[in-house]
Symmetry: C2
Subunit: 146 residues, 2 copies
Amino acid sequence: MQERITIGQAAAAAGCKVQTLRYYEQIGLLPHPLRSEGNQRLYRRADVDRLLFIRHARDLGFSLQAVRDLLSLVDQPDQACDAADAIAKTQLVEVEQRIDRLLALKAALEGMIRQCSGGKISDCRVIQALCDEVGRGEVSPRDARR
Amino acid sequence: MQERITIGQAAAAAGCKVQTLRYYEQIGLLPHPLRSEGNQRLYRRADVDRLLFIRHARDLGFSLQAVRDLLSLVDQPDQACDAADAIAKTQLVEVEQRIDRLLALKAALEGMIRQCSGGKISDCRVIQALCDEVGRGEVSPRDARR
DNA sequence: CTAAGACCTACAGTAGCTGTAGGTTCAAGG
DNA sequence: CCTTGAACCTACAGCTACTGTAGGTCTTAG
């Protein structure tokens, strides 16, 4: 009665590569599935749901460690949901920081491009801007990297 | 007359690790510097300027390949600056795409957090949202990953 | 029965560093 | 002059999150 889903079908359903499933299994995010007589993996609905959960979380920018934490919550559904909430909030803060950082980059790049004279490299503003050690305060060289 | 700058001083000036300089040398972004009698690297101003250029570009989100391209332009300063302009524009497009993607993530995360009931995991909206295969159109699961 | 395609394991490679082990050199203090 | 400790050296392993490759096996349609 159980559907037997091949690794290729599961990967297609999740929009990822076959290798990615094997990798998730290897690092313990997915359980070892049943095998056919010929040793090929056979997944069930629940496994595919778990995979979709993982992929969805990854699409939302959660690290594999965060996904692992979320899955451990899912595996114990009677606890309070504060932990899941906290993980999402941490993630939100990080996303906001990345957005701020990228907006600053965008401004800096637009400034560089706007001033490109179309002349020679030696006069090019893009290169000049990168040569300036100091920058113009839009991006500080010291703490700018995540 | 030349200043002799140690690798530690150069790294400090650029706000990166000593290993990073050795790595850049290894992959050909920085030239092999002079060595002391005791085989220690001695950099000159020009080397440090090149390093600062690299770090600045990295801070702006350029890949090492893009940095490599920009440096090859710097090394031939009499050519037209169209190439540098094109690299910066490509980078700008990528940055804008990343921003759009992150804004969608932010909205999705805020929605998840807003609806967290504070109850049990089994009712938690954060988890529910991740379990929904379909999502609510904010982030498409298929093409969402860069 | 055969051939193509999907699957298997095992391992190497990607980016961009970072960390470690085990040894050498340099500069300052005694 | 000698010692001590920081900074340096090489070489290599490890990190994240996969992706690709080689060489072989299984399944399924014709």
